[in-house]
């Protein structure tokens, strides 16, 4: 398990290589890459973060994923700081022997990152600044997993 909370950008290939090096042999890899979505007049995305808590919380999410699915490895990177449109924000890589495990675990991790990892996004437009609000739909996604 590798968790990286960082201001730095990451390179998808390098990350997959590190992932493979640290994994036992798996047949299936699921990758999610979240980027700053370009929107009209959006100049930057400021991501505030509580790094010590983020590390703990994401580790906890990953542990739950390991307990729910049969996984070989998990790699999670979440950036914070000032990002531009199209910049990478988050990378989740999950590996397993069978595709359904890594796909389900990947979605689970993203669903929890969205609403339970301590990051806060602020959109800087040319004419205004807006703190992103937590979405009801994101919270609802968590209910499907029940409690654990």
């Amino acid at each position: 398990m590798d968790i990286n909370i960082t201001k730095d950008d990451f390179d998808l290939t390098e990350e997959i290589e590190i992932f493979n090096q640290n994994s036992s042999d798996h047949g299936a890899v699921s990758i999610f890459l979240g980027k700053v979505r370009p929107e009209k007049n959006l100049e930057s995305m400021q991501i505030d973060c509580y790094p010590e808590m983020a590390q703990k919380e994401i580790k906890n999410i990953a542990k739950i994923a390991y307990s729910k699915w049969s996984l070989d490895n998990i790699r999670i990177i979440h950036r914070y700081g000032s990002l531009k449109p199209k910049d990478n924000i988050v990378l989740v890589v999950t590996g397993s022997s069978h595709r359904s495990d890594c796909m389900s675990a990947n979605e689970f991790i993203m669903d929890f990152l969205k609403s339970s990892a301590p990051f806060w996004k602020k959109e800087i437009y040319s004419d205004k600044e807006v703190w992103v609000k937590q979405k009801e739909s994101d919270l609802k996604k968590l209910y499907q997993y029940g409690s654990f």
């Binding site: 979240g34 991501i47 505030d48 973060c49 509580y50 010590e52 808590m53 983020a54 703990k56 919380e57 979440h78 924000i89 988050v90 993203m110 990152l113 969205k114 609403s115 339970s116 990892a117 301590p118 990051f119 806060w120 996004k121 602020k122 703190w131 992103v132 609000k133 937590q134």
Partner: protein, 83 residues
């Protein structure tokens, strides 16, 4: 007590972090919020809508009734919007 603020809460209080002497009768997060709101308008404004605020003690999410002590790191922030 070490206090941390994030996102718009940090903007309103105009601090990201501070170390404060808290009266010993303050035992829970709820009481801490009431106390801070009573000593300064900025805290009062930041903590106005309690339902929009989450708290962590030593990097673990807790509720308002969580007991706190001097050595704790207490953080205040809005609902998370990462990912």
């Amino acid at each position: 007590m070490n206090l941390k603020y994030f996102a718009w809460i940090a903007e309103i209080i105009d601090k990201r972090e501070e170390s404060l002497e808290i009266p010993s009768e303050i035992e829970t997060i709820g009481q801490l919020i009431d106390y801070l709101s009573s000593i300064d308008e900025a805290y009062k404004k930041a903590f106005e809508k309690r339902k929009n605020i989450k708290f962590a003690v030593n990097q673990v999410l807790v509720n308002e009734n969580e007991l706190i002590s001097k050595a704790d790191e207490v953080a205040f922030f809005p609902p998370m919007t990462g990912g």
